[in-house]
């Protein structure tokens, strides 16, 4: 046929089966993601690993130095400090976030009036730009003129500390601020979880004579455990991404007491232009995040309850 002698793309496309056409179209549709995955994820990921074996200041040519960046990293007291700051902060911030979010969600789930209004109020801080939040809290924590020390003085007659300039108080201060800023989001997540718990479970508990505490620990908490688990992982990862507060409010101080890991990485990469060293740090931090995430996932088998497992068990009978 003459048509086969001159195969234009359109005619070739027409000769494909319907399934092949569908598949080709689908590949076309996902091609933006594939391109983004290669160009903005896979290539950078590989490059970071390669770069971590080089010394490079962006000006002179990169020089291969083997594992030097890593050995230097493990001897760097500031890197250890930044890890310790980040982990200590996470250990306080994440449970605080879970408890406050859960507590407000439980309050709102008590068939209170004006649920919409409460939800809006509690959620408002979540949408604010972190820089605006940081400025606002610097002013709240201001030792001389801030409202917090003003309140402590007026009500208790206490002269409050210089919150952000104190090695003792800087991390707790940042935690409180972070809880203020994120409580609304956690609350909404838990609220939707609470509302999906079936009434029958509570009915059954009541018939069995379970009190409110017993009901909470035997029904509410286990049913929410997947969400708590999700919150735990995202909270831990967020801690490792904390940057704006450290940059705007404390510059890592005082005496490196708020030297968060991402801020330290930023200093090395974009202020001192130690690209290779910062890459090695990025690789180590990524491995730490993965290790934490995996260990939480592993431990979750013990304490997270998935409803799906129950129904799968039930299906076996049928």
């Amino acid at each position: 046929m003459t048509q086969t002698a001159l195969p234009r793309p359109a005619s070739r496309f027409r000769r494909l089966t319907m399934h092949q056409k569908e598949a080709l179209t689908a590949y076309l549709f996902i091609s933006p993601w594939v391109f983004g995955f290669l160009f903005f994820l896979l290539v950078p990921l590989g490059s970071t690993i390669v770069l971590s074996f080089y010394k490079w200041d962006l000006l002179r040519a990169p020089r291969f130095i083997g594992l030097d960046n890593y050995t230097k990293l493990f001897r760097d007291p500031l890197f250890r400090q930044s890890l310790s700051v980040t982990i200590r902060y996470g250990l306080g911030r994440v449970p605080l976030g879970i408890i406050t979010g859960l507590a407000t969600a439980i309050l709102l789930n008590q068939r209170v009036k004006f649920v919409g209004m409460w939800r809006v109020i509690y959620y408002m801080p979540v949408v604010l730009p972190p820089v605006a939040i940081s400025l606002l809290w610097m002013w709240i924590y201001n030792p001389q003129y801030g409202i917090l020390n003003g309140f402590l003085w007026n009500v208790f007659g206490i002269k409050g500390p210089a919150w952000l300039q104190s090695t003792t108080w800087v991390l707790p201060s940042l935690m409180v601020m972070a809880v203020w800023a994120a409580m609304g989001r956690n609350m909404l997540i838990y609220l939707s979880g609470l509302q999906s718990i079936s009434e029958e479970l509570y009915g059954a508990a009541k018939v069995d004579g379970a009190g409110p505490l017993r009901t909470f620990f035997s029904i509410t908490l286990p049913m929410l455990s997947p969400i708590i688990f999700f919150n735990l992982i995202t909270g831990l990862i967020d801690t490792f991404k904390l940057f704006t507060q450290a940059y705007v409010m404390t510059q890592g101080g005082p005496r490196n007491a708020s030297l968060f890991i991402y801020y330290y990485l930023f200093q090395n990469a974009f202020q001192r232009f130690k690209m290779g060293y910062a890459s090695a740090m990025a690789v180590v931090v990524t491995l730490i995040i993965l290790a934490i995430t995996l260990s939480v996932i592993r431990s979750s088998k013990v304490w997270v309850y998935y409803e799906g497992e129950l129904s799968r068990g039930d299906d076996d009978n049928g």
Binding site: F40, P44, T104, W139
Partner: protein, 305 residues
Amino acid sequence: MARSDASTALNRSQGTSTGIWAWGQQPKVRRRALRAFIYLLLILGALLVLVPFAWTISTSLKTEKQTLEFPPTWIPRPVVWENYIIAFTARPFARYYANSLFIAVTSTIGQTLSSALVAFAFARMRFRGRDPLFILVLSTMMIPFHVLIIPRFIIFKELGWLDTFWPLIIPNFFGGAFSIFLLRQYYMTIPLDLDEAAKIDGASHFRIFWNVIMPIAKPALGVVAVFEFLSSWRDFFGPLIYLSSDRHFTVPLGLYTFQTEYFTEWHLFMAASAMAMTVPLLVFFLAQKYFIGGVALMGGGASKG
């Protein structure tokens, strides 16, 4: 008998959900006290949330002298509205707002459209490798940004894109893993018969996507759009490393620079902060249902493990 009547009446007044406080058997007085306590806690919490906002507005209307009083007072005397004008013109904030708006709107369009298309293929089309590829999409959410940022910076530098908006906008045109996930979940709930009917009418896949599925998926698209808009508007790290000349600054970057230049004039910073808070709060109030729905979807996604 009387007791069970009371408890059913109580249950009715409270709806069927008894939450964790299944106190149906308790006397009425105790129940009322509990309700009052719940409201008290809610009000207390709301006050704690609102006090920082009130403090921003209070400070923004004070004279500099009044901001430097101890102990601080709440009511500005006199009320200085000019602080807002001074703060807005102390740096080219009009320009920063235009920049932020441009970046946020284009990023939102890019992220929403590209994710919608990719999610459509994953949810409603058959092709080899679909499921493993989708798992790959999900697993990219686990990759921390730390390990990508340095080469990305270098790539954009090589492209000559430093100090332009492109590094902040262009990556959004390749779909975001979370948006794709959210939209796919939503598409899965739309009956496949719709696609079949359209196919019989001779519609192409793209037409099915654009004319059939997109209109139905508006609620989910709204969620993706508002979250992308806000995350772009709030971003500080990106503008900080990519933008260097003042006329390209975004609102957060301008706000930060303002503070470093005037570092004690808190009445002006608070006026500038209050203005910077307005846009996201406005978006939130106007698109409230998308936020509430979106967060619920996230929680739902989480509980599916």
